[in-house]
Symmetry: C2
Subunit: 312 residues, 2 copies
C-alpha cells in the first residue's frame, strides 16, 4: 500500500495569507489548537440522505451540514429539524444535477434563468456546462432563490458553500455573487486561501466591491477522493487524517446517506459518491472510533455558527 501521506491529495492548501490575527484566534482559540468542522454535504438531496445525515448529527461526530434546496426532499429537512434549534445548517448552493435518473431544476423560474436549464429541462450535469451557459446574473438570481426558499421552510442558514464547487470553478463572477450574498445575509461563505489565490486575486475588477483582505478564511478543506476511497477506504483515510490533523481550522466534508434502494437508484452509473460511499461515511462518522480519534487527538469541534459570530 502506497504511503498514506502521499495520498492525501485533496486537503486543499493552507492559506498563505498572513492576517493580523488568525480566524482561530478571533474565535478565542490558540494558534496551536486543532479545530474541526465535520460537515455533511447534500442534506435535502434525498430521503435517505436526510435521515442518515440527521442520525449522524444526533449520534455521531458530524456537527454541521448544508442543504440542496432544488431537490424534491429539501422540504422534509425543514420538518425533520424542528427539534434541533441549534443545528448548524447552511445552504449548499446547487447549480448542477449530476444524477442520471433523479432530476431537479432551478428554484427560480426557468424563463428567468434559462442558462441554468439544460436541454432536458433540468440543471446541467457538471460545472463546466454551467459556466458555458449561465450568466452571472442568472446564477446570482438562483443563489438568492435557494437562500429564500430555505428561509421559507424555517432554516436559519449558518453559512454558504457550493455543491461540486461550481461557484469556485465556474466563472469568477459567480464567486463574487456568492460572497456578496453571504455578506448581505450576514453569514460566512466557505472560502480558503486557494480560492483567494486562484480566483479572486487574478480578477481584481470583478471583486472590486469586496473587502478581500477581511474575508473569513478557513485554513483547509479535507474530503475523500475517489482514489483514496478505492485504495484505502473511508475508515483508514479518516483515521489517518484525524491523527495527522494540523492546527488551525479544517472543514472535513463528507456525504452521508444509507446504502438503500433509493440511494442506489439515484447514484446509478456512479462508481464513486454512490450509496455505498455514503453508507461508509455514515458508518465512520457515527463510530466509536471517530469519537475516540477526536478525543485522543485533542481536536476541538467548532461550527459555522461560531465563525459567523466573528464575521459580523
Amino acid at each position: 500500500m502506497r504511503k498514506l501521506s502521499t495520498l492525501i491529495l485533496l486537503i486543499i492548501c493552507t492559506s498563505t495569507f498572513a492576517q493580523e490575527k488568525s480566524l482561530a484566534e478571533k474565535l478565542g482559540y490558540s494558534k496551536t489548537d486543532k479545530l474541526l468542522i465535520v460537515h455533511a454535504d447534500d442534506i435535502g438531496m434525498a430521503h435517505s440522505e436526510n435521515i442518515a445525515t440527521i442520525s449522524a448529527l444526533k449520534n455521531g461526530i458530524v456537527n454541521s451540514t448544508s442543504i440542496m434546496m432544488p431537490c424534491a426532499w429539501s422540504t422534509e429537512v425543514g420538518k425533520l429539524i424542528k427539534d434541533m434549534p441549534d443545528l448548524d445548517i447552511g445552504i449548499h448552493i446547487t447549480l448542477t444535477n449530476e444524477w442520471h435518473t433523479y432530476k431537479y431544476a432551478p428554484i427560480a423560474s426557468k424563463s428567468e434563468v434559462p442558462g441554468l436549464v439544460g436541454p432536458d429541462g433540468f440543471m446541467y450535469k457538471d460545472c463546466a456546462s454551467v459556466a458555458q451557459n449561465a450568466s452571472p446574473e442568472e446564477v446570482e438570481k438562483e443563489m438568492r432563490a435557494q437562500i429564500e426558499a430555505a428561509l421559507k421552510i424555517g432554516i436559519k442558514p449558518s453559512h454558504l458553500d457550493s455543491h461540486m464547487g461550481c461557484v469556485f470553478y465556474g466563472r469568477p463572477e459567480y464567486l463574487a455573487s456568492y460572497i456578496k450574498l453571504a455578506q448581505e445575509y450576514g453569514i460566512p461563505a466557505m472560502l480558503n486561501g486557494e480560492i483567494i489565490d486562484g480566483v479572486i486575486n487574478p480578477n481584481p475588477q470583478i471583486f472590486k466591491g469586496i473587502d478581500v483582505d477581511n474575508l473569513i478564511l478557513i485554513d483547509r478543506v479535507a474530503i475523500a477522493s475517489p482514489q483514496l476511497y478505492d485504495e484505502l477506504g473511508m475508515e483508514a483515510f479518516y483515521t489517518e487524517l484525524l491523527n495527522d490533523l494540523k492546527p488551525g481550522i479544517t472543514v472535513l466534508l463528507n456525504h452521508i446517506a444509507f446504502d438503500d434502494a433509493e440511494m442506489r437508484a439515484i447514484t446509478t452509473g456512479f462508481t464513486h459518491w454512490h450509496a455505498k460511499w455514503r453508507q461508509d461515511d455514515y458508518n465512520f462518522f457515527t463510530s466509536q472510533n471517530a469519537k475516540d480519534l477526536i478525543e485522543t487527538n485533542q481536536i476541538k469541534l467548532i461550527t459555522w455558527k461560531e465563525i459567523g459570530k466573528v464575521s459580523k
Copy 2:
C-alpha cells in the same frame, strides 16, 4: 361484514349515452364482452413506484400505466422502459403535489404558470386550490409542457388521464383543454358518461369547438376507496369486482409501489394511498389469484393503444 355490493361505491356510473356502435363494438368485441384495462396510476412519482409498477406490468396483470412528469423520478421511467416498446403508457396530467415532504413544481416556467404554484413554491395540495388559483391558459400550458417533456424522454403516450381528477373536477375549461390536447396529439383522453353529464353538457359554450357526440367514452372507472380499503382490504375488493365485472369497457385504476423507506416517507401523514396501500395493490395485481380471476371470468384485457386506433 356489510354486503360487498353496497360498498362498491366508486365504480363510476355507466355511460347513458346511446351511441350507434359501442366503443367495444368498434374495437371488434361483442356487446357482452367484459373488457378491462388494468391501469397503474402514478408511475414516475418515485423510484419505488417506478420499479414496482414495471414489475407488475412485466409479471402481473397490469397492462397500462400513466406517468407523472413533474416528479423527480419521471426521467428514470424513460430509461427503465427502453426494453418495453409495446408498453401502454399515458400522461397522468399532474396539477397537484399532495405530499407533505416530497415536492414538485410545474414543468412550465413558474413565471408563466404562477397560478399553479402555491406559496411554498410547489404545486398546490388539492384540486380545489388549483381551481381557485390557476387560469385555464396556465393549466393548458402546463398540460402541454408535461406531454412535451414525456416525448423528450422517449415516451410515446397512448392516452391522457388526470391525477386526483383535477382536470375533471377543477374548472370546465381545464377539461376542454384536456380534450383538445388529446385530439391534437392524436390519442384518447380518459372520459366517461359521468363527465359528459356533469361537466360538458352543462357548459356548452366552453365545449363548443369539441365534437362531444363523437368522444371516445369508456363505460366505467373502478378504483378502491379508503372505505373499501379499510373494510374489505384490496384482495377482497378486487376479487369481488372481477367476479362481478359488467360487460363493456372498465378501467380499473390502481397505485403500485413497494412499502419501503422511500414510499413511507413520501406518504407520511396519509392514512390511505400510502406505502402499504400501494404494496397491497402490487401484491394483488401480481398474484396468481388475479390471473385466475381474469381467466375464470373470461375477462378480456385491452389497452389504450387499441382504443387509440379507433379514435383516429
